[in-house]
């Protein structure tokens, strides 16, 4: 175990020394706090916590005020409430999608890489087909097929996202499969399942974690885009992309006040941007720190 602990210490030191990753971790912690404290920060709507309360029927947005810290959107939805509870939506979407995609990818990638041959060939050709499409395009097609809703977006994201994990995990498994310690584990009579779960996967997990970190942000970006296009979360649901879609008609203010409705666009966008930025910074720093080719240069 000693070398493993030494490597871990080395990694932690590299993380501490890398300013970008520290910024990333701090951003993510702030969002985690917002998500946990959501009921304190914004009293939940008694009807449904994820439905943004409405304060009137006027189509014109209202600027930030004492009662509505970030203002009201078109049709008077409270922006502050929306971004706070939207943080929970963002975490739910990213954890569910990345978790499921990783799990499916892990099973399929490990089987394909470990057994090789015809199984490998079939699985990899299937992933080729999925990877031939730009994400947004394929997700849009699946969402249209399943009916526009946040649930459909989640399912579509998982369907489209798992192949990249399967590919990566397969490649990692292929490279450790021939290592001496795998051979040794087999020689002492370890079952395939044990060899895969105890030796192969733990030794190929780092690049997967890097990808998962980057994807936590990417998934939220894609889901927000779907909501923005009107194919995701329903009107009034606490979701960042959905909040921005309210602002589409209010980009330009009345003559003489071009920035009159800035808060409808800027505030929810800042939340998405920083959420994604946090995960991207972390993933990008991990990539350098954990990449054995660049690690000790």
């Amino acid at each position: 175990m000693a070398p493993r602990i030494r490597e871990l210490r080395f990694s932690l030191r590299r993380i501490r020394d890398s300013p970008l990753s520290m910024v990333g971790i701090s951003i993510i912690l702030v969002f985690a706090a917002i998500a946990l404290l959501a009921p304190v920060l914004a009293k939940p709507n008694p009807r449904d916590a994820y439905s943004i309360p409405k304060f009137g029927f006027s189509p014109t947005p209202k600027p930030p005020s004492e009662n509505h810290l970030f203002g009201l959107t078109q049709d008077q939805y409270d922006i502050y409430y929306g971004v706070i509870w939207g943080t929970r939506t963002a975490f739910r979407v990213s954890i569910l999608v990345v978790g499921s995609a990783l799990l499916i990818g892990l099973v399929i990638g490990a089987i394909a890489g470990y057994y090789g041959g015809i199984v490998d060939e079939i699985f990899m050709r299937i992933t080729d087909i999925f990877l031939a499409f730009p994400y947004i395009v394929l997700i849009m097609a699946f969402v249209v097929a399943m009916g526009a809703s946040l649930d459909s977006v989640l399912k579509a994201l998982i369907i489209v996202w798992w192949p990249s994990y399967a590919r990566l995990i397969r490649a990692e498994v292929l490279s450790v499969r021939e290592e001496d310690y795998v051979e040794a584990a087999k020689a002492v009579g370890g079952s395939d399942f044990r060899v895969i779960t105890r030796h192969v996967i733990p030794n190929s997990i780092y690049p997967i974690l890097v990808m998962a970190s980057l994807d936590m942000g990417a998934v939220v970006l894609t889901a927000a885009a779907m909501s923005f296009l009107g194919l995701g979360a329903p009107v009034g649901y606490a979701d960042w992309g959905q909040l921005i879609s309210f602002s589409q008609n209010w980009i330009v203010g009345p003559p003489g006040h071009p920035f009159a409705y800035w808060y409808t666009v800027v505030i929810p966008g800042i939340f998405i941007f920083f959420f994604v930025l946090g995960w991207s910074l972390l993933g990008d720093a991990f990539r350098d720190i954990l990449d054995p080719k660049l690690r000790r240069r």
């Binding site: 097929a145 666009v265 941007f273």
Partner: protein, 342 residues
């Protein structure tokens, strides 16, 4: 080389077939009535939808349906797009030039800036320059495309009202382009304007292009930069770079000629992914800027449940990406003998 090309072309067939199967699988989510629109070639046929369901076996088992559908696809009939009021194939031809025009500017810009930044960042690894360039690239990648577009619209509208309007052309320019005095050779406005020697059309088209091109470029630069950076870092550690330095060559020559050139190869290989990323970006950018290209068409079709348009677009884009990847791989093999012989 010839056997490599033949092998790659043969490998193309199962992937293209897979793309068709996946599209067909998505199609199975819909009811026979909804699916019927995929077999329509002109809107009058909607009056007798049952005849179409009968004729193309839309209630029959899946494999029978697949047979009748693939026959249509191979004949280039992808159905009727209710949103475009055109057959899907014609709609693709109609909207494609606008998207190509976006790519015409966004692709070179993304690649050029991405390579420059990646090299800069690698050469100054772990120095402030590296942190700043990487930070900026990551920030660009983390920007929601639609939000960046809306912000640009807001800022540019606020400060220079009307200078960078949404859409593809202004009203006057649009009327002129569609008049008899103007020949639309390619339907790519900037190129047509040059061919027709009409500078004011060119300027009008460029004014409309600037914001969408900036949006597309900013969100895709990080991708190129990241690959350039890591491949540059790798080649900086190679023996021939150390040798060149040891022989006393100046830093600039070593960076540009020895390390820089080999580092470019991985960037070429990901061009297919770049096309994929730009296409995703175009879907959103075109919608935000009301820029009537393929992306604009597909999103509006998706919202209006124009199923043939959405699936036709999916099939088309998948095919384009696969073929781009093939062309890139062949070029790569042509350049690098290790690939075609390996």
């Amino acid at each position: 080389m010839r056997s490599y090309i033949i092998r790659r072309l043969l490998l193309l067939i199962p992937v293209l077939f897979g793309i068709i199967i996946l599209t067909f699988a998505i199609l199975q989510f819909f009811s026979p009535v909804q699916r019927a629109a995929l077999f329509v070639t002109n809107p009058n046929q909607f009056k007798d939808i049952n005849a179409i369901i009968q004729k193309y076996n839309l209630n029959a088992p899946v494999y029978v349906q697949f047979y009748s559908w693939i026959g249509q696809v191979l004949h280039g009939n992808l159905g009727w797009s209710q949103f475009a009021k055109l057959p899907v194939t014609d709609a693709i031809i109609f909207f494609l030039p606008a998207t190509l025009e976006l790519f015409l500017f966004a692709v070179p810009l993304t690649i050029f800036i991405g390579i420059r930044l990646g090299r800069l960042s690698a050469v100054h690894r772990d120095k402030p320059v590296d942190h700043v360039t990487r930070g900026l690239a990551i920030a660009g990648y983390s920007l929601p495309t639609f939000w960046l577009g809306l912000m640009l619209l807001m800022v540019f509208y606020g400060f220079f009202s009307g200078l960078f309007p949404p859409g593809r052309l202004g009203t006057a320019a649009d009327a002129f382009v569609n008049s008899a005095a103007f020949t639309r050779y390619t339907r790519i406005n900037t190129i047509d304007a040059i061919l027709n020697l009409k500078p004011w059309i060119l300027i009008d088209a460029l004014r409309h292009l600037i914001l969408p091109v900036i949006t597309l470029t900013v969100v895709n630069i990080a991708f190129v930069m990241r690959i350039m950076r890591s491949s540059m870092l790798e080649s900086l550690g190679k023996g021939y770079v150390v040798t060149a330095k040891a022989k006393g060559l100046d830093e600039k020559t070593v960076m540009n000629k020895h390390a820089g050139r080999t580092a470019l190869i991985p960037v070429i290989t990901v061009a297919g992914y770049l096309v994929s990323g730009l296409m995703s970006g175009a879907v959103i950018t075109e919608t935000v800027f009301n820029y009537k290209g393929l992306g604009y068409w597909s999103v509006n079709a998706a919202i209006q449940l124009d199923i043939p348009a959405v699936l036709g677009f999916t099939l088309f884009v998948g095919t384009v990406v696969v073929i781009t990847n093939l062309v890139v791989d062949l070029l790569y093999a042509y350049v690098d003998p290790r690939i075609r012989l390996g």
